[in-house]
Symmetry: C2
Subunit: 480 residues, 2 copies
């Protein structure tokens, strides 16, 4: 705090110098989060939460367009319910928070705070799914979940986080598989189109799949530093949970059958991904689709007659066109404001001073490359819309180039280990499908399998680890 009580725009650590510290600086200095005395949890501040609200709004509309209905399940799961499906409880029990007291009384059965809600949805579906006419059920909830992590980082890994979890039940295995892939592609299109983050779409290995799932599909993004981030996942459970929970329906052929189940989710982790994909040494860079402020108008010599009036008029025009716009008419200097909104990643800055007024023009500056355009005030809506589109496209291209530059290929264990030791990025290599090889790569090169991309072409026929026959192309890497 400066002595007059105004915040100064402070320098942040350079990303090349210390990427982790750069990240932490941004989440704090762009006012995205604050810490509290609740260890491992974070406060999402208005600017950070507004990004999440924009993400929610876009996804929720698209979910509903595919027939999704929102519900709300209890946040607690009785221990006996959590343990009904064996693999599932093994995956989650070590990292749940347990409620053992209600008021001053000890509970007869302890309750965990949901780490995910498959078990609750299954119990409910067992109540309401009786006939093929009751299918499909395509439910989703927006809520918070808790996983008792040891090491936490804002947005990327915290003990409590916000997410959506879709849970569906289907009459046939084919329909469940279709829904699993449909939701994965919905996520993929959102990441690429709206967040300007190129993603690999593919399948997880058995080791990396969700506890209890038959198959887990993923969208994987590569961060600026070459580490991978799992952006969203979609799981096909087959009828394993349905069997464990006794969910059966009478089909039209008059026989009782188990329905087929999926679940899929994305979380506030996305915000961490945006930061690490697009941010730079001046701060955050936000894709326009989710930016709380898409255009900030900064008046120059705002005390001069007409400047503020015109700024407000332009803001009204942009608002009417559906643009999220803010006029900063505070008494800070224009230079301070430039830095502040660069830190906050506002896609476009619009400068307007007395001289511009006389010419009926203004200056539009792009956040990503600081490119300036001189724009007639009458054309401001079009200039802003095309500026946002150009910025989104440039962000995408830059992130794609980063991924291409950081994607390596290995044929042997030695090559892979060598690359993993000296480079940061994806390593493409063939894999025989054996868990032992996957574990060995982790041990030898400290990489995990990130994804087996859909429709990827083989780059050989021998496992990078054991040399036996291999048909699976895997992207290996280090991940957040």
């Amino acid at each position: 705090m400066a002595e007059n009580g105004k915040k100064l725009v402070e320098q942040i650590t350079s990303m090349d110098e210390d990427f982790a510290k750069w990240y932490t600086d941004i989440v704090k200095k762009a006012d995205l989060i604050d810490y509290s005395s609740v260890k491992g949890c974070m406060i999402i501040r208005p600017y950070g939460y507004a990004i999440w609200e924009n993400i929610q709004k876009i996804l929720d509309e698209r979910f509903k367009a595919t027939g999704v209905e929102n519900v709300y399940m209890p946040m607690f799961i009785p221990e006996s319910l959590l343990t009904k499906e064996k693999e599932h409880v093994e995956g989650f029990a070590p990292e749940v928070a347990w409620v053992t007291m209600g008021g001053s009384e000890r509970l007869t059965e302890r309750l965990c705070v949901r780490p995910t809600s498959e078990t609750l949805f299954c119990e409910h579906y067992a109540n309401i799914v009786k006939s093929y006419r009751d299918l499909p059920k395509v439910y989703n909830q927006w809520c918070s979940v808790v996983r008792w992590e040891k090491t936490t980082r804002p947005f990327l890994r915290s003990r409590e986080f916000l997410w959506q979890e879709g849970h569906t039940m289907h009459r046939t295995a084919e329909e469940a598989e279709e829904r699993t892939v449909q939701m994965l592609n919905l996520y993929g299109d959102f990441f690429e189109g709206d967040l300007a983050m190129p993603v690999l779409r593919g399948q997880k290995t058995d080791k990396e799949k969700f506890a209890g799932a038959r198959a887990t599909y993923t969208v994987e993004a590569l961060m600026h530093d070459g580490k991978a981030l799992q952006g969203g996942t979609s799981h096909n459970f087959g009828n394993g949970f349905a069997e464990a929970f006794g969910i059966r329906f009478l089909d039209s052929d008059n026989t009782l059958k188990y329905p087929h189940q999926t679940s899929w989710g994305v979380s506030t982790r996305i915000i961490g991904g945006i930061i690490m994909t697009h941010g730079d040494d001046s701060g955050l860079v936000l894709p326009p689709a989710v930016a709380p402020i898409q255009v900030v108008i900064i008046p120059i010599q705002q005390q001069k007659e007409g400047v503020l009036d015109e700024a407000y008029r332009i803001a009204d025009t942009l608002k009417a066109a559906g643009v999220r716009v803010k006029v900063d008419d505070s008494d800070q200097s224009p230079g301070w404001k430039f830095s502040e909104y660069e830190m906050k990643g506002v896609p476009l800055r619009l400068e307007l001073g007395p001289r511009d007024l006389a010419n009926r023009t203004c200056v539009v500056v792009r956040r990503d490359n600081r490119e300036k355009s001189f724009v007639a005030i009458d054309d401001v809506v079009e200039a802003v819309q095309s500026g946002m589109k150009a910025l989104r496209d440039a962000l995408y291209e830059k992130a794609l180039k980063n991924r291409e530059d950081r994607t390596y290929t290995a044929d042997t264990l030695e090559e892979l280990t060598e690359i993993a030791a000296n480079k940061s990025g994806y390593i493409r290599a063939m894999w025989c499908g054996d868990l032992a090889c996957e574990l060995k790569l982790k041990e030898t090169a400290d990489v995990t399998s990130r994804c087996m991309p859909f429709g990827a072409e083989a780059i050989g026929d021998r496992c990078v680890c054991c040399g036996r026959e291999a048909h699976k192309l895997v992207y290996w890497g280090k991940a957040y």
Copy 2:
């Protein structure tokens, strides 16, 4: 379940016979909620949750128009933080759920699941409020909270419920008081305008106010059975919490001061209020502003050529006009559908058969009084809009008349006790302000003070209980 797997529309208990059972029948049979193995918690099903989403959308927009910003605080509160403000912890500690284990480890300090978040907001404000330039802070969050109630009822009282909680900090006492009243009136206007529920706006007695507040304002609604429901509350905390949490700001006169604080909230309880205000023996009756389906189109002889096509065309026209509409083209009979959507409280039903087609008309039926209108298909948008408005107005008038019919006046303790024993509703009576009298009315007549309405005129100058001088007009009653 019927043998062919279709649900039949079942009878519900009559409201005059058993109001409590009628209520429970509706929440189940209108598909609003389901129970689960989590005792005291409920599953909010798609139809119930869609009502909540409509409530959220309307309120969230109005909040933001007054400068509110949304945030998200952790769901856990360390015990030491909860206990910082004395009255607050006394009010809440007996009814919180405690997390004592994370994974397999015992926590060094137990965490409660938030029953409300004043303490977390205060801790955060202590971090970010330093100067008068940082004020006001006008934050809100939409989340779930937990109170370990012994007796629970869907929507009205459950161990977990959904709500919004606004928490604000202000430079002056006057500004805090203004915000407290502003939010109460925002709630009042929402209840009356959108939910068609007349409310009393006024102040709570000290006994009934929020733990730690200086003053609590309330909107109180009267249910069909004459019991009161607290619809929403708005609290002025003065600077008590600020002192307890050491929140101080440097004012422009260069002195350190404590800011003044408010909080305000409404919850899913509202849905219980809607049911008990407007419902009837055929089921739910929803005010159009929050109805998930505002108009259901029921084709008659839908197999006849052109009927379904015209039904879809009308639906498209209504959708384009912003109406939430559904065509039920299932193979159930029209009679079954009539009952089903009456149970679900859909405001308007539109019937369309082959004869209507020939005349280019359709029939619009109001849910509340079953009044039929024959409407030219070309005028359907206007007919639907005016039909919804008329229904909202009629619901309001009916509820207002119920309140007027059930509002009594008492001058003496004997009168009050007599009314309380034989009638169900509000009893207006003067009160001296003494807690002893309030407790005695509870003991003698089993009523609590509901509200001291703003600007109410005195109806005497003696306390109904002790006969001493009295200036406060109180509405007494039994409450949910």
